[in-house]
């Protein structure tokens, strides 16, 4: 029974991860606003700090920082490459993030703020949809597998 519950949770993990990632991106974009607009920290530095504050995004943000340090790619390419490593996000969610990356750093602080706030709103909407949709699916999947496990145990008895 324990194994069945564990399996159910394991199968449902990617669904939960998508919601967790989107929530973290919402917070991360909010974090970038003061870093860029007030402190005017360089993007690499802002990403480095965000990777510590939001550990779930750490691997992706560190990849972006590493790619930017090579001076061989632009920021949207670096973002696209780092997001490719994350399978939990859907195409629309990647699109919002790469759109943000394409505009990141290339204008005055006020425009950056406006752009980041718009992205934050879009991500909030996507996170809210994902929460409703995926948590339902995740719970369903988790319950089904757990129940199957219980049924199997009863049958074996």
């Amino acid at each position: 029974m324990i194994a069945a519950v564990w399996l159910g949770r394991a199968v449902a993990r990617p669904f939960r991860r998508r919601v967790q990632l989107l929530d973290a991106w919402v917070k991360c974009v909010g974090f970038l606003v003061p870093a860029i607009v007030w402190r005017q920290a360089a993007l690499s530095q802002a990403f480095q700090e965000a990777s510590i504050t939001y550990p779930i995004l750490g691997p992706q943000l560190r990849t972006v920082v590493k790619l930017l340090a090579t001076r061989a790619v632009d920021i949207s390419q670096a973002f696209a490459q780092s997001l490719a490593e994350e399978s939990a996000l859907r195409p629309r969610e990647r699109e919002v993030l790469t759109d943000m990356a394409a505009k990141l750093g290339s204008s005055a602080p006020d425009y950056q703020k406006e752009m980041l706030r718009t992205t934050e709103m879009l991500l909030k909407e996507l996170a809210s949809e994902a929460r409703k949709e995926d948590l339902k699916q995740a719970r369903l999947l988790e319950s089904l597998i757990s129940l199957s496990g219980v049924a199997l145990v009863i049958l074996l008895l």
């Binding site: 005017q40 360089a42 993007l43 632009d74 920021i75 750093g105 602080p109």
Partner: protein, 304 residues
């Protein structure tokens, strides 16, 4: 810190690595201009940058990309510099930016349609200040407030940096008001040039505000500023002098004729400085051509 020549991204970086080491040592500037070959300049000659024997040409997109990479993809942090037509890189190297000015409310707010970049090497030469200081003292210049006047690319900032180092090593509390981040060449990750243990750097401050802040909060013996300009700079320097602080500054001038340069004349008449040192470019940057002392002495200099 990365050598200045390797700051541009590939393929320009690859082309630079192909250069003869003798040429690399003499390089002073790399100039990117839209749709023409990238040019390399030494103090006395120029040549196109070639990759496998073919001149490298940069288009408008290339120049945008180079600029974005040079500023770590963070143009928002460089708006004020860009507005003034330059970007300073780690190590104090300056990038001149040529583009179309964007005006808002009668003021240039930024540049767009960038058509040219000029990456200029910031020299750091130790030991050039000591003979100058010795000579000034030998000829009876009292006080340590000096003006270094020279045309562009004559070595003003290099001399100024070494003067900071000399005074700092001598135990003076020096404050450098480094409006363009060229003197110290510092950034968040690097301390920049060696300025000794007794130098503080106010980076990115305007000269008047930096000078006043230095007097109020940092208790300097000496304030150093680069490229003096308007009346506000002069007023702030006077305030420093009245507070008993020595000042060293630089000024762009064509030659040592005060009559032809109202700014130089105004600075000289203000009695702010105890001496004026003129630098020339021929036969090489950093040559002292003329010196004035406030005691009316024309200090002899070795002629080239």
């Amino acid at each position: 810190m990365e050598p200045w020549l390797y700051l541009p991204p590939s393929p320009w970086r690859n082309a630079i690595t192909e250069l003869d080491p003798g040429v690399l040592r003499k390089l002073e500037e790399i100039r990117f201009r839209v749709d023409v070959p990238v040019m390399l300049y030494t103090d006395s000659s120029w040549m196109p940058l070639c990759h496998q024997g073919v001149p490298v040409i940069s288009g408008a997109d290339d120049i945008r990309r180079i600029l974005s990479i040079l500023v770590d993809h963070s143009l928002y942090a460089r708006m004020e510099e860009l507005r003034q037509g330059y970007i300073t890189l780690p190590g104090g190297h300056r990038v001149g930016v040529a583009g179309r000015a964007v005006w808002q409310n009668g003021r240039i707010v930024t540049q767009t349609e960038i058509t040219g970049l000029n990456i200029r090497y910031a020299h750091d030469i130790s030991g050039i200040a000591a003979p100058l200081i010795e000579r000034l003292r030998k000829w009876g210049v009292q006080g340590n407030s000096w003006l270094i006047a020279a045309p562009p690319r004559a070595g003003k900032t290099t001399l100024l940096r070494d003067l900071v180092r000399w005074f700092s090593h001598d135990g003076w509390r020096v404050v450098v008001v480094d409006e363009r981040s060229e003197i110290a060449g510092a950034n968040a990750e690097h301390r920049g040039f060696d300025l000794g243990y007794h130098a503080d750097v106010l980076q990115g401050w305007s000269k008047p505000e930096g000078i006043i802040t230095a007097i109020r909060t940092l208790g300097p013996d000496l304030i150093v500023v680069d490229e003096l300009g308007g009346d506000e700079d002069l007023a702030a320097l006077l305030q420093a002098r009245h507070a008993g602080v020595e000042v060293i500054g630089t000024l762009h001038v064509r030659d040592a004729t005060a009559d032809l340069n109202p700014r130089l004349q105004r600075l000289w008449e203000s009695q702010l400085f105890d001496a004026v040192v003129f630098l020339g470019r021929n036969p090489g940057p950093g040559l002292v051509t003329t010196m004035w002392s406030s005691r009316g002495l024309g200090i002899p200099v070795k002629k080239a």
